[in-house]
């Protein structure tokens, strides 16, 4: 077993609400570690709408999803939170009153006094095209991400999609693969224009194929793909021979392992009380989009408020013998010292 990481608070989900919670916890001298399944911080803001504007953050007339993420990272810097990205908490075990042992899918083990679930809509997972029987090829012939480029050497690869992932991997795998076919539902691409230009040049030189249409069926046996049936926009059906397929249809959110931790759930959300946003398990809190209570609205600003109230209660668990005196950052020299501004 790997070394156990001990922390006051473990936050699941590095979206805006989780990030701001680290600020509120930090002001009260609690150290936070983050685990997030994405390979970057920011949650939905960074993954779904990095460039889309947000107009309802108090005091900030407009900011992009990525801009808000960057600003929050700057704000919590004085508290040195630690991030464990690309991992997902799989198991949570109660080991104290309260204290929890949490293990990631990569085998990393945390021991924390307080667990904060700030997992938004759940964990992001690649969207699986609803093609009948696709499960049989997953992991052998159908891959939703490129982990090792070597896997694709000398393969007939069918890449499906029209965004940056599809185009980037088309260009990167092209020198390695036997043949690349890019399939997209329309002859318009969301990907960066220079990638699209490079792809079109390869097609013009006969070095790869571009097809317009959508996959309707797969053929093969024993997990080994041999071809895909494709319906064109003219409704003509044809076959593309391939032994490997990479579908890039973005990500979807699934609640995931939260359901197995003994916490009460309600319609895939975590019910909490509204004085500290604690779940039915003392010491486990839920803030942001993943919680529910009477009057709940899924706004980032509400998640910020939830994080502040959660931190007050968390302090009682982390420092049972210390009395918490409420202070303002505008006037408290001790808070300003923690923030490194005084």
């Amino acid at each position: 077993m790997s070394d156990v990481i001990k922390t006051d608070v473990l936050i699941i989900g590095a979206g805006p609400c989780g990030l701001f919670a680290a600020f509120e916890l930090g002001l009260l001298d609690m150290k936070a570690h983050f685990v997030d399944i994405l390979d970057k911080v920011g949650g939905q803001c960074a993954e779904l709408y990095p460039e889309k504007p947000i107009y309802d953050i108090p005091g900030i007339p407009h900011v992009s999803g990525q801009g808000l993420t960057d600003a929050l990272m700057e704000q919590i810097k004085p508290f040195h939170p630690t991030f464990h990205l690309g991992e997902m908490i799989e198991t949570v075990e109660k080991i104290g009153d309260p204290a929890f042992r949490c293990t990631t899918d990569a085998g990393k083990v945390f021991e924390c006094k307080v667990l904060v679930i700030a997992a938004g809509g759940g964990s992001f997972q690649p969207k699986r095209p609803p093609v009948p029987g696709i499960e049989a090829y997953e992991g052998t012939s159908v891959h939703y991400a490129v982990r090792k480029m070597e896997t694709f050497r000398d393969k007939n690869v069918l890449i499906v999609g029209g965004g940056d992932s599809a185009l980037d991997w088309t260009l990167n795998l092209h020198p390695l693969a036997k043949r690349i076919t890019l399939l997209h539902r329309r002859d318009d691409f969301r990907a960066a224009p220079h990638s699209v230009e490079r792809m079109r040049a390869l097609v013009a030189d006969g070095k790869m194929d571009l097809r317009i249409g959508q996959v309707t069926a797969l053929s093969g046996a024993d997990g080994q793909l041999t071809g895909a049936t494709v319906k064109g926009n003219d409704n003509n059906v044809s076959e593309i021979a391939c032994d490997t397929m990479l579908p890039f249809f973005g990500l979807t959110m699934k609640l995931g392992p939260v359901a197995n931790w003994g916490i009460a759930l309600e319609n895939n959300l975590v019910p909490v009380e509204t004085s500290a946003f604690e779940t039915n398990v003392p010491g486990i809190f839920a803030i942001g989009d993943i919680n529910t209570y009477p009057g709940k609205i899924k706004l980032i600003l509400c998640g910020f408020h939830e994080g502040a109230l959660m931190s007050q209660k968390a302090h009682r668990y982390v420092y049972p013998d210390k009395r918490l005196v409420f202070q303002y950052t505008t006037s408290s020299s001790s808070l300003q010292k923690k923030l490194g501004v005084n």
């Binding site: 709408y49 609803p130 959508q214 249809f249 959110m253």
Partner: protein, 106 residues
């Protein structure tokens, strides 16, 4: 108010009423219409509220904006009458609108 008819993949129709100004997605979510997930809550950021607009209504409903067209790339079995229901605003003109929902959004 407008009536919206949702036809699921098995052909079963559910009819709901919704006030003008709301979206077809909201009409579906508030009434627990199966086949609409709306993960992003209506930000045109996820393509899990994909519907097919009945042919008779296509002209009135109109076509997707370029942003919506981009998001439709994340949908499955996208057809010429595909729309994201969070981008269809309800008005008197759409009273009686018929849309069908796919078997799965993702």
């Amino acid at each position: 108010m407008a009536k919206i008819h949702f036809v699921d993949h098995k052909g079963e129709t559910r009819t709901v009423e919704i006030e003008n100004g709301a979206t077809v997605m909201e009409a579906a979510i508030r009434n627990s219409i199966p086949g609409i997930e709306a993960e992003c809550g209506g930000a045109c950021a996820c393509a899990t509220c994909h519907v097919y607009v009945d042919e008779a209504w296509r002209e009135k409903v109109g076509s997707p904006t370029p942003m919506e067209e981009d998001m439709l790339d994340f949908g499955f079995d996208v057809r010429p009458n595909s729309r994201l229901s969070c981008q269809i605003k309800v008005s008197d003109e759409l009273d009686g609108l018929v849309v069908s929902t796919p078997e799965r959004q993702a």
